[in-house]
C-alpha cells in the first residue's frame, strides 16, 4: 500500500475513535468520561508543568530498563535454547511457572520483596515480559532451516557473522512482531505496577487523579501512556522493522 493511503487510513480510524469518544462523552456523566476537548485542555495544562515531565521521565526510565533487561535475557536464552535442546528442557519449568502464575501474585510478591518504587516496577515488568521474548525467539530459532547452519559451518562464519547474517535476519519477521507486543505490554505493565505501588510515574499520577475524582486529568494521563506506545511504534520499531525486512521489499 502507498504511504498516502496508509496515512489516510490511520487518520480515518483515529477520527472515528475521536467521534466515538465524543458521542459517548455526550451520553455519559462527565465524572465517568471526560470529553476529548476537556482531556486535551487538561493535557496542555499538564505539559506546561515541570512535574509532568519529571513523572514521564521516571516512567520512561523504568520502561527502558525493563525492556532492555527483558530483551537481553529473553533473546539470549531463546537464541541458545533454539539450538540446544538441553537448555530448552532445562528452562521449560521456569517458563511454564512464569507464564502461568497470575500477574497479581507476582505484583504482591515483588512489593513484599522490594517495597514500593522503581526496583519493584522493573522487576515485575522483566518477569512478565521475558518469557514472551524467550519463547518467541526460541521457537523461531528452532524453525531456521538447518541449511544455513551447514553453510555457516562449511564457510567458517564467525559467531558475529552467524548472529548478524543468519540468526537475526532469519527470525526478523517474528522478532519484529515480538518487539511490538513486548513494547506495548511493557507500557501497560509498568503503568499498572506504578498504580499499585509507586510514589512516582504515570501510574502513580493516574491513581492520584482517580482518587481525587479528577476525571479530565485521569484521561489526560491515559492519553500520555497511549502516546508512549504510539511513539515507540513509530520512532523505534518501524525503523527497526524497515531495516530488518528491507530485502523483501524489492521484487
Amino acid at each position: 500500500m502507498k504511504t498516502k493511503q496508509k496515512l489516510a487510513l490511520y487518520l480515518l480510524s483515529l477520527t472515528s475513535l475521536l467521534v466515538l469518544w465524543q458521542i459517548l462523552a455526550n451520553q455519559l456523566n462527565p465524572m465517568i468520561l471526560a470529553s476529548p476537548w476537556q482531556t486535551l485542555m487538561q493535557l496542555f495544562e499538564l505539559i506546561l508543568t515541570a512535574d509532568f515531565w519529571q513523572q514521564l521521565l521516571v516512567t520512561l526510565n523504568r520502561l527502558l530498563y525493563a525492556l532492555s533487561i527483558a530483551c537481553s535475557i529473553g533473546f539470549t536464552l531463546g537464541l541458545i535454547a533454539g539450538r540446544h535442546a538441553w537448555l530448552k528442557f532445562y528452562l521449560a519449568p521456569f517458563r511454564w511457572l512464569l507464564m502461568s502464575i497470575p500477574p497479581v501474585i507476582i505484583v504482591l510478591l515483588a512489593m513484599l520483596w522490594f517495597g514500593m518504587g522503581s526496583t519493584m516496577v522493573v522487576f515485575i515488568t522483566v518477569l512478565l515480559l521475558t518469557p514472551t521474548i524467550y519463547i518467541n525467539t526460541q521457537k523461531s530459532v528452532e524453525q531456521i532451516d538447518n541449511h544455513w547452519f551447514e553453510l555457516a559451518q562449511v564457510y567458517q562464519f564467525s559467531w558475529y557473522q552467524r548472529l548478524s547474517k543468519i540468526y537475526i535476519p532469519a527470525i526478523s519477521g517474528p522478532l519484529c512482531a515480538t518487539l511490538i507486543i513486548v513494547c506495548c505490554s511493557g507500557v501497560r505493565i509498568v503503568v499498572l505496577a506504578e498504580v499499585l505501588g509507586a510514589h512516582q510515574g504515570i501510574g502513580f499520577e493516574l491513581a492520584n487523579a482517580s482518587s481525587n475524582f479528577d476525571t479530565a486529568e485521569l484521561y489526560a494521563w491515559v492519553v500520555v501512556s497511549l502516546s508512549i506506545v504510539a511513539f515507540m511504534e513509530l520512532i523505534l520499531l518501524k525503523p527497526i522493522q524497515y531495516y530488518l525486512l528491507r530485502w523483501r521489499k524489492l521484487s
Binding site: 551447514e150 553453510l151 559451518q153 562449511v154 564457510y155 557473522q161 543468519i166 535476519p169 530485502w247 524489492l250
Partner: protein
C-alpha cells in the same frame, strides 16, 4: 585393499579410516576407508540415497563420524550445494563478500576478487540484486563464484546443476573447468556421468551404503574414445 603406497599418503588431503556414520539410528556408512589426494579430481557416482551427499557432509565436517578416523587437511572448503543456497537477505555482492570475510581475506583483496569473479560469471550489473531477483542459473553462478572466491583447497560439488536445463548446465560446467586450479582437490557428485567425466581423473562409485562394498574405477581424462567406452561399459555392469 585400501593400503596405498607411502608417497601417496604424503600427498593425501583427506583420509577416512574405518569411518562409521549413523544418522538418526540409520546406518549410512559402516567401515568406509578412502583417501583423496591433493589436486585429485574425483567424480562421485552412485544411486540416489546411497550416501553421496552424506559423504560430502562428512568430509566438510557437517557430520561427525560416529566411529573411525577422518582427517581433512583442507583449510578452505568451497561447497556448491544442489540449490544455490544464497542468504536471501544479502545481495549477490554481500553473499560472496561474507564468505571471503569468514575465510580471513582482507578488504583490498576482497574487492579485487569480487570484481574479477563477477565479471567472469557475467553478473557485474547484478551485484546489488537479492537472490530472489535472480534466475536459477544466475543464482547458481553466484554460488559457484562464492565457492571460488575463497580460493579453496577443497571443492565439494553436490549435484550442482541438477535443477538447471541442458544449456545452462553446459555453460556452468565450462565456467567450472575454467575456474578449477590443478592444485585444488575436487569431489563432484553427479547423476550424469557424462557431465563429470570431462573434469574428473577418477570415478568413485558408491553403492549399497550400509555395507562396506564400494568400487573405485580409475579413468583418465586423456583416454581415447575406445578406452572411454570400455570404462563406461565396466561402469554400467
Amino acid at each position: 585393499m585400501n593400503k596405498k603406497p607411502l608417497t601417496k599418503q604424503i600427498n593425501s588431503l583427506i583420509s577416512l579410516q574405518n569411518v562409521v556414520l549413523t544418522l538418526a539410528d540409520q546406518s549410512i556408512f559402516s567401515h568406509l576407508s578412502l583417501t583423496f589426494n591433493i589436486g585429485e579430481k574425483v567424480a562421485l557416482l552412485g544411486d540416489s540415497g546411497v550416501g553421496k551427499s552424506s559423504l560430502l557432509k562428512l568430509i566438510a565436517g557437517i557430520h561427525q563420524p560416529t566411529q573411525g578416523e577422518l582427517t581433512n587437511k583442507a583449510l578452505r572448503i568451497g561447497y556448491v550445494f544442489q540449490e544455490p543456497r544464497l542468504l536471501p537477505w544479502l545481495t549477490v555482492e554481500q553473499n560472496i563478500t561474507e564468505v571471503m570475510k569468514a575465510n580471513g581475506i582482507i578488504k583490498m583483496q576482497r574487492e579485487i576478487k569480487l570484481t574479477e569473479l563477477l565479471t567472469q560469471v557475467e553478473l557485474t550489473q547484478y551485484r546489488h540484486y537479492y537472490p530472489h531477483q535472480l534466475s536459477g542459473g544466475m543464482a547458481q553462478r553466484v554460488s559457484l563464484a562464492r565457492a571460488f572466491a575463497i580460493e579453496p583447497d577443497l571443492l565439494l560439488l553436490d549435484e550442482p546443476f541438477s535443477a538447471l536445463d541442458k544449456n545452462l548446465t553446459q555453460q556452468l560446467s565450462q565456467l567450472l573447468s575454467r575456474f578449477l586450479k590443478p592444485e585444488t582437490t575436487m569431489i563432484y557428485v553427479s547423476h550424469y556421468i557424462e557431465q563429470v567425466l570431462p573434469l574428473a581423473q577418477s570415478c568413485l562409485f558408491l553403492h549399497n551404503a550400509s555395507s562396506t562394498q564400494k568400487k573405485k574405477f580409475t579413468w583418465h581424462s586423456t583416454a581415447n574414445a575406445i578406452e572411454r567406452e570400455q570404462f563406461l561399459k565396466q561402469f554400467y555392469q
